[in-house]
């Protein structure tokens, strides 16, 4: 088991290296530089050259890449040009926000999705099932950002139930108030994200439940005299839930991807918004760091899922 994980991690390393080079080159290939954007007539061209030199932006790319890698190993992802702050600190702040939102969304997603999927599967073909399926159909057909825009407008502005921007209210002080304020800011985006994100879970779970329902081992269980409701509990739910639980690793990465839309619409200062800004400001260090980080998270997500699956499913367990 541990060996497999370790081997997987070893395989990850070259992938990460290639990704980092790719990302680095892509970022470099973007037009403009971090300083032209904040063009200030008072700053002389010489000063900008000076700044470019300090930041090593005139070096050949491999040199820059090498420097970057060396720093990376010291836990230093460089300075954000725009924010004048170490990228690590920046990502820590924003990452915490995104993580909050992502976790909250995920919890909600599963809280909504699991019962719904099971319910639909259990009542396959009945009215309730049709209702759930209509919900999944419609949600699936609306682009995520339309959901967000309509959601923020109704609940944020028209009804004024939820805050519409930021991650915390400016007035909140003290631990309790801070927590409540933070929660208040992620409820709406989290809920919208969850409503959207449940679709896959519901559909997957529903068909898993239906498959399990018709499986031979359920027939065996019935022939043992196990009442149907216990069969659901001990056999069907368990067997259909486990693969889904194992896929949680993947769904985290999915959520992180979706965060770009959520954060943009809700002006929520997380990594997605940071990325969009970094793109506009040509904040290379931030761009490379973020893409690499997301790549790394993707990797971890798959790894986690694999591990979870092998724990959960004896068939893929490695002896």
């Amino acid at each position: 088991m541990w060996k497999t994980i370790l081997r997987r991690i070893l395989i990850m390393i070259p992938e990460l290296i290639i990704l980092s080079i790719l990302v680095f080159l892509l970022a470099k290939a973007m037009p403009g530089d971090p300083f032209t954007g904040s063009i200030n007539p008072r700053a002389s061209q010489a000063q900008i050259h000076h700044l470019m030199q300090i930041h090593g932006l005139y070096d050949p790319w491999y040199q820059q890449y090498w420097n970057w890698v060396v720093h990376l190993f010291h836990g230093d992802l460089g300075m954000s040009y725009e924010y004048q702050e170490p990228v690590v600190d920046l990502i820590k702040q924003r990452g915490a926000n995104t993580l909050w939102l992502a976790l909250f969304t995920m919890v909600l997603t599963y809280l909504i999705g699991l019962p719904l999927g099971i319910y639909a599967g259990r009542h396959e073909g009945k009215f309730q099932d049709t209702l759930v399926r209509v919900y999944t159909y419609v949600t699936m057909s609306i682009p995520f950002f339309v959901v967000l825009v309509i959601g923020i407008w109704i609940f944020g502005y028209a009804l004024n139930w939820f805050p519409t921007s930021g991650s915390i209210s400016a007035q909140a002080s003290g631990l309790g108030e801070t927590l409540i304020s933070r929660l208040g800011h992620i409820i709406l985006p989290g809920l919208l994200g969850a409503l959207f994100g449940t679709v896959n879970i519901v559909q997957y779970l529903r068909s898993e439940v239906i498959d399990a329902k018709h499986s031979d081992y359920v027939r065996t269980a019935r022939s043992k005299g196990v009442p149907m409701k216990d069969i659901y509990r001990h056999h069907i739910f368990r067997n259909s839930l486990l693969p889904i639980a194992a896929f949680a690793g993947y769904s985290i990465t999915g959520l992180l991807g979706g965060s770009i839309f959520t954060e943009m619409v809700f002006s929520y200062p997380g990594m997605g918004l940071l990325f969009l800004n970094a793109i506009n400001y040509r904040d290379y260090t931030v761009i490379t760091a973020l893409v690499l980080l997301y790549g790394f998270l993707n990797l971890m997500g798959t790894l986690l899922s694999d591990i979870a699956l092998s724990i959960v499913d004896p068939r893929v367990r490695v002896e």
């Binding site: 081992y217 027939r219 065996t220 022939s223 005299g225 056999h235």
Partner: protein
């Protein structure tokens, strides 16, 4: 061989099972009557699609009531199973009737340990505590011939070979010492050597528990080796029943005779085998009336068949459907080389 009434603990009377296909019901099992006695193995044989499994699952009450229509009477130790509700059935399934399925891999929950799967049946039908149940599991595994029961109990289905899995299924079926065991093709997926072992196990269990066994198979060899009584099924109907000796030594119904004749045996080593022309009709194409086997013996004139075939008792315990057996002959016995091909 006349049995007293009390020995017949399972009496199936005029049971029909119909499946709903495109809104209409079609009989897969029609008017089947059978008895099973204590201490006996009743084999049901027939080609694929004859309704053997359907009959078995009907007895077990495993059909979805919305998709099937079942009529008749299944008297099991004094209760009519078909009148039971789900709750009542659950007290019988596993406790009084055990079932063994054909595909031993898919019949086990892949995510549960062997031990848990065997224990489950005890949880619902006995008052044993965890410890007792474990002891019983080990006992059962020994009984079905598993060499290292403690280890096996702890394993998952995929870690076992096909023969071992089938033994587990048997262990589950006999865990509560049921009076009746229904084994639906328990050895079809297995090698001959393992098949022999499994059949041995079944027989031993039956002896020990005085259970009755319904053994479903299409392998006549298996029947000949194990069955006390045989019921031959064709197209949802029983066409012949009798003791093993009656069926194998004096087969009467054309279908039984055809089946036996199509087996490769020592005495027909160098000849062509006999081939039954045509095939089992699908449910929708099942003839409503008359002898269902008639289309497959076209050289026998229609007049030889009964219009509404019924069972005829030839000897005590030996029953045959339709009187056509009296006029039956194999085509090559009259005309050389005719009709041994078909499609």
């Amino acid at each position: 061989m006349v049995e007293t009434k009390s020995d017949q603990f399972l009496r199936i009377k005029d049971v029909s099972t119909a499946f709903k296909i495109n809104g209409q019901y079609y009989d897969a099992v029609s008017d089947v009557s059978l008895e099973v006695n204590h201490d006996e193995i009743l084999a049901i044989v027939g080609e694929s699609g004859c309704g053997k499994s359907t009959l078995a699952t009907t007895i077990m009450g495993l059909h979805d009531p919305e998709e099937t229509k079942i009529s008749g009477e299944i008297d099991f130790e004094g209760t009519d199973l078909l009148k039971l509700d789900e709750k009542g059935y659950n007290q019988i399934r596993g406790a009084k009737i055990g079932m063994i399925f054909q595909d031993p891999l898919s019949a086990l929950n892949p995510l549960k340990r062997i031990e848990d799967q065997i224990q489950e049946v005890m949880v619902y039908h006995t008052k044993m505590d965890e410890k007792q149940r474990h002891a019983r599991v080990i006992e059962l595994l020994n009984e079905v011939g598993i060499v290292d029961p403690e280890r096996t109990a702890h394993q998952f289905p995929h870690q076992l070979s096909g023969g071992m899995r089938q033994r587990i299924i048997i262990a589950i079926a006999i865990a509560c010492k049921p009076d009746l065991i229904i084994a639906d093709e328990p050895t079809t997926a297995l090698d001959v050597t393992i098949q022999a072992q499994i059949l041995d196990v079944l027989r031993d269990i039956q002896k020990e528990n005085h259970a009755g066994i319904i053994l479903i198979t299409h392998d006549l060899g298996v029947v000949a080796e194990t069955a006390d009584r045989v019921a031959v099924m064709y197209a949802g109907q029983i066409v012949e029943t009798g003791s093993a000796a009656q069926i194998f030594n004096e087969p009467k119904h054309p279908y039984t005779r055809s089946l036996l004749r199509s087996m490769p045996q020592r005495d027909n080593e160098n000849d062509d085998l006999y081939v039954i022309s045509g095939m089992v009709p699908s449910l929708q194409k099942m003839p409503k009336d008359g002898d269902r086997f008639a289309p497959r013996i076209p050289w026998i004139p229609v007049s030889a068949h009964e219009a509404h075939p019924t069972m005829h008792e030839l000897e005590p315990g030996h029953m045959v459907r339709c009187t056509c057996y009296q006029n039956f002959y194999f085509p090559d016995q009259v005309k050389e080389g005719a009709g041994n091909e078909s499609n």
